[in-house]
């Protein structure tokens, strides 16, 4: 129970820091203010080729404050929570607010929307693995990978991370909310080599709960298999073909959806999904929803970064866009109400259409299964999508050979409409979770 005492002590510190910032803002004449403070700590160990490589102790604190003078605002932050630093940040924010412009949309969120219930979401599970045990675990993880296949010739190492933190957010409506959470992970990166050259891949496991991490040996083994299977990759010739994105990459496609329906992109008219609320954006089987109050999940929270209560809701239903992702600021710019998404989405999920990955590959028959994407070729304004890719060519529903040095291109609007199926192989390692996506057709560029 020592851990919980530490959490409670840290929570008291961040809460006090927020209260001090709000009091100071009031003293300097702010019409309203909001502040957040955090305290976190962690340990990272990495080993390479059976020996320790780095041992890093993390300990961070921060405070940020936004001060409003009428409809003008200024922000400042400090990297420590000492009273004089908090005072200095409030004064800096106030100074800035004297120079920014009147902005009709600026201000705190509606007080009626503040969260009033704070369920225990079971997010705080300290690991306290310690340097010695962390090193042993990382060594076991890497060793399992190195031993998995004679073609594994080198290692970029294995690492273990143990993180815990508390944050407080408060505003001059009188709202103050506390959050605490842990995040643990283990990863391994291995290099495979044959006469065609070297390939590197990795695998990781992550959870808020140490017991829910995958075993070290399984992580090492997965990393090895993923590196080895990329050896002797070929380039494809240029063609159009159906594409299945692995579950971990499909998360990026959902993130692109979130980017395009976020208030900031919408009020700036910088989105390919402008004015699409109520319109068909995906095929009719698609339901995408947000579920903020799930226990033990990465994106769980009872309130957003403005104190607004979060709710379970459908964002896409029957393929139709049901709602946007708004903060109070972007909502006012759009003449709408906040959706409780200041700071982003909370546990975004998509329903599977029921097929396993193997069934998806079988049903696709011939096409590309993409397991890695590189580069930044996603344009939120137009939806144009073109990224470097590696993966496998599929024929007769089976992986035939690895491919690399190709690009896949299309437009996200067409890709969303062309989503044929979503696999059952949900990747559970983040706030946004999905199974593999099968897209009807994209352009593959190669030799």
């Amino acid at each position: 129970m020592q851990e919980l005492e530490k959490r409670d002590a840290d929570s008291a510190v961040v809460k006090r820091a927020v209260e001090q910032a709000l009091e100071a803002a009031q003293t300097v004449g702010a019409s309203s203010a909001e502040a957040s403070a955090s305290l976190d700590s962690g340990l990272s160990v990495s080993v390479r080729k059976g020996d320790v490589e780095t041992l890093e102790y993390h300990r961070g604190q921060s405070l940020s404050v936004t001060v409003y003078l009428g409809q003008r605002k200024g922000s400042a932050s400090s990297a420590d929570l000492r009273p004089e630093s908090i005072q200095e940040a409030v004064e800096a924010a106030t100074r800035i607010a004297r120079f920014t412009s009147e902005d009709a949309a600026a201000g705190l969120a509606d007080p009626a929307l503040m969260a009033t219930v704070f369920p225990d979401l079971d997010l705080y599970h300290p690991w306290n693995i310690g340097a010695e045990n962390g090193i042993e675990l990382a060594k076991a993880c890497e060793a399992a990978g190195l031993a998995a296949d004679p073609r594994i010739t080198n290692s970029d190492g294995a690492s273990v991370h143990d993180f815990q933190g508390v944050t407080a957010y408060g505003n001059s409506h009188g709202f103050i909310g506390l959050r605490s959470g842990t995040r643990h992970s283990m990863s391994c990166t291995l290099i495979a080599e044959d006469e065609s050259g070297m390939q590197r891949d990795y695998y990781y496991t992550a959870s808020r709960v140490p017991e829910r991490l995958e075993p070290a040996e399984a992580v090492g083994l997965q990393a090895a298999q993923r590196s080895v299977r990329r050896l002797s990759a070929k380039q494809l010739s240029t063609r159009r073909a159906p594409v299945i994105f692995s579950a971990e990459l499909s998360r990026g496609l959902l993130s692109s959806l979130v980017g395009a329906i976020s208030g900031g992109a919408l009020y700036r008219r910088a989105s390919f999904l402008l004015d699409m609320k109520g319109e068909q954006v995906f095929s009719p089987f698609v339901r995408i929803y947000e579920d903020p109050l799930l226990p033990q999940e990465f994106g769980s929270t009872a309130f957003d970064n403005e104190g607004v209560a979060t709710h379970r809701r459908d964002i896409v239903s029957g393929g139709m866009l049901e709602g946007y992702v708004l903060s109070s600021y972007s909502a006012r710019k759009l003449g709408m109400q906040t959706t409780g998404n200041a700071g982003g989405v909370h546990n975004l999920r998509i329903d599977t259409s029921g097929q396993t990955l193997e069934q998806l590959l079988q049903q696709m028959g011939t096409g590309l299964y993409v397991t890695e994407l590189i580069g930044h070729g996603v344009n939120t304004v137009t939806g144009d999508y073109s990224r470097g890719a590696a993966g496998f060519w599929v024929e007769n529903g089976e992986l035939q050979y690895p491919v690399e040095e190709i690009t896949i291109a299309g437009n996200l609007k067409d890709m969303f409409k062309g989503l044929v199926a979503v696999g059952t192989d949900r990747d559970r390692r983040g706030s946004i979770q999905t199974g593999s996506w099968w897209i009807d057709a994209m352009t593959i560029a190669g030799n």
Binding site: V52, E53, T54, L55, E56, Y57, H58, R59, G60, G74, S75, A76, S77, S78, A79, D80, S85, A92, A93, R95, I96, A97, F99, T100, E102, N154, D156, I191, G197, M198, R200, R230, A233, Q235, T238, R239, R240, R268, R269, A270, I374, G375, H376, G377, N379, T382, D384, S386, R387, G388, A390, E404, I406, T407, A409, N411, T443, A445, G446, N447
Partner: protein, 481 residues
């Protein structure tokens, strides 16, 4: 006052510390199995101002400070940091860092040396005060007005101005004592244009290790506005990019991001020590066409990627990486250099006190060749002319890299014709420079916007090159065949 005196007055004095105490702190990191230790003190002041919808929408100020403590034993690194520069926190961090080698403090007393005189490459004063608040706002408004004046199809303009001043001091068990006062400013403009229901974006910007006056000189700020609008309008007329393998002409300046991704990362010391780079073991080999010479130069005055000293206190230098096509050098920090029997090249960089130093690039560019850029374009029958890029990325081990063109044109019969959008280029690092068939005489460096990410750490960098012709690069558009 010397730079070290200025830095220690700011960083150490408030904690009741002096340079003379650093030896004692370092000795707390040392032990029989510890080869080296260093202390990195840093304070950073950062501000940003954002104009959007024609109003000054946001301003933010941030102060961060702390100390990072590292102990090295062979290939092992112990690291701890504290965001409070007070003696007790330093002592705790030192003992945590030292835990990398499980041994007791044996009383070795490292000697903190004299700081060598290095001529600063930029003024050691905070850029945050180089304009007053009203002048900063006037600059933002002028840039906004210029973008809107440039074309009626401009419907959204976002202008951001940011300034950073860092004060760092490094002391190491090898006798290093060095300090640096680092200004960095940046101005960015992004615009959305809309015409007949079609929307496109354009962006431009620049900056360097200078103060805000930089943007007033030569109308640089207004120039970024005109450039952002020009790019957006080009994209309004752009057709879908072709897909397939073709000859590509890369414009001068920022397209040098190709060098950064395709070969730069592969020549960083850590990857080569570990044998995980596609360039591992290629030292002395012909890795590029004759006539191709690439350097990493941290000593260019005032440039975004430049540093008077790196984050380990080593003065930066100009390191030749590829000379006339032959691989001749790696970029090194102290630890990787030591383990490879080489010397640091002044490329040890870290995002902040809370991050470990790594071998990183500074300003990486290819030297000019002899060809007239017009003649290079005229030499291509059918291909792509890529003038501006967004980001790039590389897989160090397989050598595969990509980068995305934000402004590109078709070349048809030696003539630049229609603009194309959404083109991604993909290639193989150790192979791409062998395909360089013509090097232009128009070397230029980028305007000062580069950010490089590695192991989760971001640092400012510069890139540059002359116009290049690369034969047979894969272009990833949507128009097959």
């Amino acid at each position: 006052m010397s730079v070290v005196e200025t830095a220690s007055a700011q960083l150490l004095a408030p904690a009741g510390l002096a340079v003379a105490d650093l030896g004692d702190l370092l000795s707390r990191c040392m032990g029989p199995a510890i080869d080296a230790a260093d202390l990195y003190f840093q304070t950073a002041w950062h501000e940003s101002w954002v104009l959007e919808d024609g109003i000054i929408k946001e301003g933010a100020f941030n102060r961060d400070q702390g100390v990072g403590i590292r102990a090295i034993s062979g290939e092992k690194t112990g690291f701890a940091y504290s965001d409070q520069i007070v003696r007790s926190a330093l002592e705790e961090a030192a003992s945590n860092a030292r835990a990398i080698a499980r041994s007791q403090h044996n009383g070795v007393q490292p000697v903190v040396g004299q700081a060598p005189a290095v001529k600063p490459l930029y003024p050691g004063v905070s850029p945050l005060n180089s304009l007053n608040e009203n002048e900063k706002i006037d600059l933002l408004r002028a840039v906004d007005a210029e973008a809107r004046r440039a074309d009626p199809r401009v419907c959204q303009v976002i202008v951001s101005l940011s300034g950073l001043f860092e004060n760092i001091l490094v002391a190491a068990s090898d006798g290093t004592l060095a300090a640096d006062l680092r200004p960095l400013v940046r101005l960015n403009v992004s615009v959305i244009v809309e015409h007949e229901g079609r929307r496109e974006q354009g962006s431009s910007g620049g900056g360097g290790r200078a103060d805000y006056q930089y943007f007033l000189h030569e109308e640089r700020g207004l120039g970024y506005a005109r450039e952002a609008v020009r790019q957006a309008l080009v994209n309004l007329d752009a057709v879908d990019a072709p897909a397939g393998t073709m000859d590509v002409v890369l414009g001068p300046g920022w397209p040098g991001v190709l060098l950064h991704e395709a070969i730069g990362h592969g020549l960083e010391g850590d990857f080569n020590r570990k044998g995980s780079s596609a360039f591992s073991g290629l030292m002395g080999e012909q890795v590029a066409a004759k006539g191709v010479t690439v350097v990493d130069d941290g000593t260019l005055p005032g440039r975004r990627g430049s540093l008077t000293i790196d984050d380990e206190g080593t003065p930066t230098r100009c390191t030749t990486l590829i000379e006339d096509g032959v691989l001749v050098g790696y970029m090194q920090d102290k630890m990787n250099a030591q383990l490879m029997g080489m010397s640091s090249t002044g490329n040890g960089r870290r995002e902040s006190y809370a991050h470990l130093p790594l071998p990183r690039m500074t300003n990486t560019y290819m030297l000019a060749g002899e060809h007239d850029p017009e003649a290079i374009l005229a030499s291509v029958n059918n291909g792509l002319y890529a003038v501006n890029f967004g980001g790039g990325q590389v897989d160090i081990t397989s050598g595969k890299f990509v980068f995305s063109a934000s402004e590109a044109y078709l070349i048809e019969n030696g003539k630049v014709t229609r603009p194309v959008k959404g083109a991604t280029l993909i290639g193989n690092g150790p192979d791409v420079l062998r395909r360089v068939s013509m090097v232009g005489n128009d070397l230029s460096l980028d305007a000062g916007v580069g950010v490089c990410g590695k192991d989760g750490q971001s640092v400012p960098v510069g890139v540059g090159q002359p116009t290049l012709r690369v034969d047979g690069l894969t272009v990833g558009g949507t128009q097959a065949g």
